[in-house]
């Protein structure tokens, strides 16, 4: 997945999953090819904003769009955790929990 397609990709997949649809079913609902749905969901390419809205609505959801003040979030803890392996992230959490868990 590319960094500039991740938002649209995750929204389409989320909408489809929540609607309980397969990629084929979504493709039929919005008259697109199944392979194209897959390319959007995996972030190979991004749909236009209008197409994104169509896809989300075909799943029974809407995507309210309005401008809001942008408030950057301090994501240093997340960035730090992303540098760790899943094993280390889990151990880090267990250490915080106090138990440590078995290794």
């Amino acid at each position: 997945m590319r960094g500039d397609t991740v938002v649209s990709a995750s929204l389409i997949r989320e909408a489809r999953m929540r609607a309980g649809l397969s990629q084929q079913q979504l493709a039929e609902r919005c008259a697109k090819a199944k392979v194209q749905i897959g390319r959007w969901e995996t972030g190979v390419v991004a749909p236009s904003l209008d197409t994104l809205l169509d896809l989300v609505r075909a799943c029974g959801f809407d995507l309210p769009l309005m401008l809001e003040a942008y408030q950057p979030v301090d994501d240093r803890p997340l960035t730090e955790l992303q540098r760790y392996s899943p094993e280390r992230r889990v151990q880090n959490m267990l250490d915080r929990l106090g138990g440590g868990g078995s290794r």
């Binding site: 979030v73 997340l78 392996s85 868990g101």
Partner: protein, 205 residues
């Protein structure tokens, strides 16, 4: 959970028993989010199992090994009646969730996006993708789930662009390649080199 049954949380032992019994399931919930990089603490393991009868039979055996005995057996009938089967094992809380919120097709929908991750000790559970964890949290719509959505979306962005995680390093200063003859010259003692013993500041040449 009654205090008498409270036990030390040992998720690796839960996952080890499931893996040894070859139970097909996808790890979801807080523990999966932690493995994906969420900054939170959880005291239980949540799984979404395949509902194949043979798999549910293996899960039932595994639960018995974990000390969750005394409960009604896990089968499709029970899982259809109880959307979340909350069990207390000898290693801590384990929730069996056949159809998580936001994923009505359950295991079949989660499995394609999930990946097996090493958690140490030979454990390689299948963990739901960050995108699917977002879908589940968004569908639950509890305040705590909605609060964690921005962080989960940020994790998704960081996963997509791992280059952002690498601090920008200054370029290495490699020595300039020597021209022909310079190697021999630089090997001579300083007082024998052409141009005198020093070429530094303060030497008037």
């Amino acid at each position: 959970m009654s205090p008498a049954r409270r036990t030390r949380f040992d998720p690796r032992s839960i996952l080890a028993v499931l893996q040894a019994a070859e139970v097909q399931s996808v790890l979801i919930g807080g523990f999966a989010r932690v493995a994906r990089g969420s900054d939170e603490v959880t005291g239980g393991v949540d799984i979404c199992p395949s509902l194949q009868p043979a798999n549910l039979a293996r899960l039932d055996v595994a639960l018995g090994e974990m000390g969750a005995a005394g409960e009604a057996p896990i089968d499709e009938t029970r899982l259809r009646a109880e959307p979340v089967v909350d069990l207390m094992t000898g290693f801590g809380e384990l929730k069996v969730v056949p159809t998580p919120a936001g994923v009505p097709r359950g295991y079949e929908a989660l499995r394609p996006g999930a990946s097996a991750e090493h958690l140490g000790g030979g454990l390689r559970p299948t963990i739901a993708s960050t995108g699917d964890l977002i879908a589940m949290s968004a569908a639950l719509r509890r305040p705590e789930d909605l609060e964690r959505l921005p962080a989960l979306r940020r994790i998704l962005e960081l996963e997509a662009e791992p280059a952002r995680l690498v601090a920008v390093q200054p370029p290495l200063k490699l020595p300039r390649a020597l021209r022909p003859g310079e190697a021999e010259e630089s090997a001579r003692p300083a007082h024998l080199r052409r141009g005198g013993p020093a070429r530094g500041r303060g030497i008037d040449r």
